[in-house]
Symmetry: C2
Subunit: 308 residues, 2 copies
């Protein structure tokens, strides 16, 4: 174990999209812009800033175009947005984005419930969008949900994941993010799925997207690193990712990920103190505590320092 | 990785002591008894039920003797208590306990601040208690605090830990629990410390005691398992362990640990549903939410099932 640790890991920040789309209240466009700029100031280079899903479904992100246009970021920050279809793709193009992020489920039941399509139908719809994006020279990432477990079917067979990943590679997707949508995976399962995929897809094209619903996210990251994956998704303060209840956790918190990786001597390029600043800003904007462990410990330490 | 996973892991429950000693309010003796009995009903076989520290310092656990006497547990449940000195040892004997748990720090500054003794002085005091306990045929566990990092000194040198562990082995301590007191360790560091200790102490005599302050506890457990450790401490719902602030986390939650291990095919003998029952009871007794991830997800699922 840890005999061939990577020197660097890429952190892909999903908070502004995956986090804010789950918020009940409307966040001001200016606040979203400030939050994304704070994330970039921490050193994050890959930030999913919004989605171009119909505002009928996700009114929280209806201002995606305005957000993209108002952002002032260093030129080496790669922004992207979630795109469900050709109409969404047009939105992302209007916003000037060079990367789009597609999504589908690995399990049939989740696919049906989420987008009312079978997995095969989802792949087919996606082909049109991918073809358009490739023709325009865009970079394409695709999220695969329910890779390890489905809320309706339980554990998902690795063969199903292999089939989906092969379909995505065939249509020219550059990066595939494997999601533990309900936070049920364990490190052994992560290793087994990645062992299966290692002959199917070059590991540098894989990302892992863990949820901390049951506290296992960083343990799963360790298994992912040991299996050769070098891109991990996370969300500021653990925002979003369909938490079950107030106070419960969804997405892996970016601070927890960066803290562990840097402690292990793996470079992320992210400054933890600036990340905590961004977390404090997010708590102020949303008017609530975020579930991230490191963030709460750091904010409590800061409060103590102020008081004493 | 995971080529030689153990078939079983021992879970050592510290909630009734390490958890309740940090509670501001007084918990009724009958409630403590009910909680410990609920923990045993989940299948836990090793439960630290109280401490025999002076009630001047920890009034929350002043009823240790009454708790021990009122408990009705299956005969294969091994109860134990924290013991700081000979007087505490007498309390544990009066309570009929067959195991006592000693403690000291690996770092000088933490030792001074915590018990106003140097590490050498702490080892020396402990010798008296250990000699008495061995003469009485008791089993002795010892917690070593600040093994990975000290709140005053930062990272702790592995040589310091080796010195302390050697001292404990010489005085006949049966089991040594290495504590990440401030929850700062990372998996690489865990492996490095255990690599250093593997020539000093037989691994079956080591336990690991992680805190989830920064979300890394289960990742550290994975590194511990890979290094050959098979005993892990945890606390119901993540109770206790000096959390920095309300809502922040201290001890690794027993449910999170059991969920991950069982998912990996490692037997713990613990029934997760009964553990969640115990967690619900603890929340009722304490009148607050506990920080454990799995517990919150499970309780939210139960609430949904009731509502719908």
């Amino acid at each position: 174990m840890f005999e061939r640790l990577p020197g660097e890991i890429t952190v892909f920040e999903v908070g502004p999209r995956d986090g804010l789309q789950n918020e009940a209240g409307q966040v001001e466009t200016a606040d979203k812009v400030a939050l994304i700029e704070a994330l970039a100031q921490s050193g994050l280079k890959h930030i999913e800033i919004t989605s171009f899903v119909s505002p009928k479904w996700i009114p929280q992100l209806a201002d995606g175009l305005a957000v993209a246009r108002q952002l002032q970021l260093p030129s080496d920050v790669q922004t992207s947005a979630l795109v469900p279809n050709l109409k969404g793709y047009e939105g992302a193009c209007a916003a000037g984005l060079k990367q789009i992020n597609l999504f589908l489920s690995a399990s049939e039941s989740h696919s049906k419930k989420n987008i009312n399509k079978s997995v095969a139908e989802a792949l087919s719809t996606m082909k049109e969008v991918a073809a358009a994006a490739l023709a325009d020279g865009k970079r394409i990432r695709c999220y695969v949900s329910t890779v390890f477990a489905c809320p309706y079917e339980g554990p998902v067979k690795p063969e199903q994941v292999v089939m989906v990943v092969e379909g995505l590679l065939q249509m020219g997707v550059h990066e595939i993010s494997l999601g533990d949508t309900i936070g049920a995976a364990n490190p052994r399962q992560v290793k087994e799925v990645l062992d299966r995929l290692s002959g199917v897809v070059p590991l540098p094209r894989l990302a892992l997207h863990f949820h901390d619903t049951r506290g296992t996210a960083l343990a799963n990251v360790v298994a992912g690193i040991e299996s050769g994956v070098t891109i991990f998704d996370s969300s500021l303060g653990g925002l979003g990712g369909c938490p079950y209840a107030p106070g419960a956790s969804g997405n892996l918190a970016t601070e927890d990920l960066v803290y562990m990786l840097e402690g292990m001597g793996i470079k992320t390029g992210v400054n933890l103190e600036r990340l905590v600043d961004a977390g404090a800003l997010a708590e102020k904007i949303l008017g609530k505590k975020l579930p991230g462990r490191y963030l709460q410990a750091a904010l409590a330490t800061r409060a103590k320092a102020c008081a004493g």
